[in-house]
Amino acid sequence: MSKQPAAVIGVGQTHHRAKREDVSMAGLCREAVDRALADAGMGFDDIDAIVVGKAPDLFEGVMMPELFLAEALGAAGKPLLRVHTAGSVGGSTAIVASSLVQAGVHRRVLTLAFEKQSESNAMWALSVPVPFNMPVHAGAGGYFAPHVRSYIRRSEAPTHIGAIVAAKDRQNALKNPYAHLRNPDTTVESVLASQMLWDPIADEDTSRSADSPAWIHGTVMRSEPTTAAERDQVNPQAGREAAAALWTQAGITDPLNEIDAAEIYVPFSWFEPMWLENLGFTPEGEGWKLTESGGTALDGVLPVNCSGGVLSSNPIGASGMLRFAEAALQVRGRAGEHQVDGARRALGHAYGGGSQFFAMWVVGAEPPAN
């Protein structure tokens, strides 16, 4: 049996900030929802079901907050689903929402991912001692820095590659009115001169807590364990297999030339070249060469994170959905100043946990052929 074709017809997002103390959780969500509904030319009455995604509930201090938000989200009297798949959740949530349409169960679905970290304390939420587990005491930066170091060693990449990514994404963010970090003076030199946080990840390399349809050509989710002796944490198998399955679904044989824009989940600059390889855009060990050549800039062969990416706004549970949404904006020609000229097909990518949960989609300006 074949899927019903599905498309993104409206996108909305908030102005991302470290602390949005001017709004409640419901207010924050409505800011994005109202913009998405206006973009789609719809009201709540047109919506058949609501799918909410969010990273850990301890980030806001509310257990299953979609329950108290149901009314504000127009979900009273409707089916309401809540997805949580760690950092990939924004992507997974969009995929669950699209599957409701593809399955033929609903026609119009509203999906929303949010994080309001200023309601609670993310470091506390991540630091609860877990019985039967050795504490990592690292935070995300400390956890991922060794993966970056390993990548540098394996690929023999020059150490300034991370700074190129950080400077590019920060410059791209200036073209995105919703981005959190807006530092016009960020350059490769200023990144290299900034404070080292988790060697080799310096301060400027990290992300800050903060009617033309886009047709869905393929969606994929893959998971692997946090720890296993045979795991390659630099180039995880789940990511490689997810990408391969995605390209097949979307009928893509040469992703580097067939994808016009990519929104890839890059919370630390070095993950750009690492994911370029994991996604199959370049052979293993050569992702950094594409980055260094300027190939991932707005005017490059594969523009990556034209929105400024996770490096410029990282509202954790929403970051994945922002990647998916920005990919949709590109193929709809609605990305404003950070629009890639003539983008017809784009990738949205999210990952989570210890580089173990992956969610991706390909969207296109044309309806899918299959």
Binding site: M1, A70, L81, S99, Q102, A103, V220, M221, R222
Partner: protein, 350 residues
Amino acid sequence: MRDVAVVGFAQRQMAEFDGSPTCVELLVPILAECYEQTGFTRKDIGFWCSGSSDYLAGRSFSFVSAVDAIGVLPPVNESHVEMDAAWALYEAWIKIQTGEVDTALVYGFGKSSAGVLRRTLALQLDPYTMTPLWPDTVSLAGLQARAGIDAGLWDERAMAEVANRSLTDAEKNEYAIRKGGSSVDELLARPMYADPLRKHDCAPVTDGAAAIVIAADDRAYDAVERPAWISGFAHNADALQLGGRDLTRSPSAARAGEAAGGAGVEVAELHAPFSHQELILRGELGLGDDVRINPSGGALTSNPMFTSGLNRIGEAARRVWDGSSDRVLGHATSGPALQQNLVCVMGAEK
């Protein structure tokens, strides 16, 4: 729509699970039992989906280590909902409907005894106006029960009848943690716990995990002779604010039941953690006196959080597998005072 059936179900419940809040130790034998029942192996499963709560586990990302129970190398197609696993089953059913996969294994887990459950669940309320008062689950259920009594919709005797039937049926359920019926008069003579609720009107705090296997079309017959074909599957939510709801009703349950087409079922497994909630649900789902309610003993005799709804669907499906029933209904609830409800109707006929 594709024909999809429930073909495997395994469960474990206990008053206190002596293990990790991620229940990996509990999930491994449960998954093994599912493989044994269906003849499927890990490689036959196209999609995995789980339901659990970080707050119950007392940590963030509690489901992350739970995937170790699957053994996820090579990687698997997997997802998770922060809801009762009945909704994970719904996500898996949707995934099969897209045609991407033909089989799915769904599991849920929760160690309610790790904290004070009735207090933990107060964190589900409005964080600005309600949670600061810490209204606990049992007290809110007491208000709901009282509202129905005051409105003349039910009385303490009707509630005790529900409890007595459940406790009697639970004697035949090896996984029930509270069992042993007596008489309605004896139950009514027991002390009040949260007026008008007595202890037996409230589900016991329960730890546990469970899993269900579903399969499409001919794959279902590979697993079981008489699959429980899903004929209707729907869920719905109400607003949370208690002051804005008629607590004696559950409109979302009625809407879910109507969308799932629950008429004509012979057996209904209802997820009613409080005795009066069964009375509300029977009304909202239009279940007459001829419908056998909760032959497993139901949630009043064991209520593992985030699995109890899935258990209701598994218990109902078993009545189809063993030929004792042709048309059954499984129900799950979530949120305070029956805010969110799901109905899965199954039968021997496609």
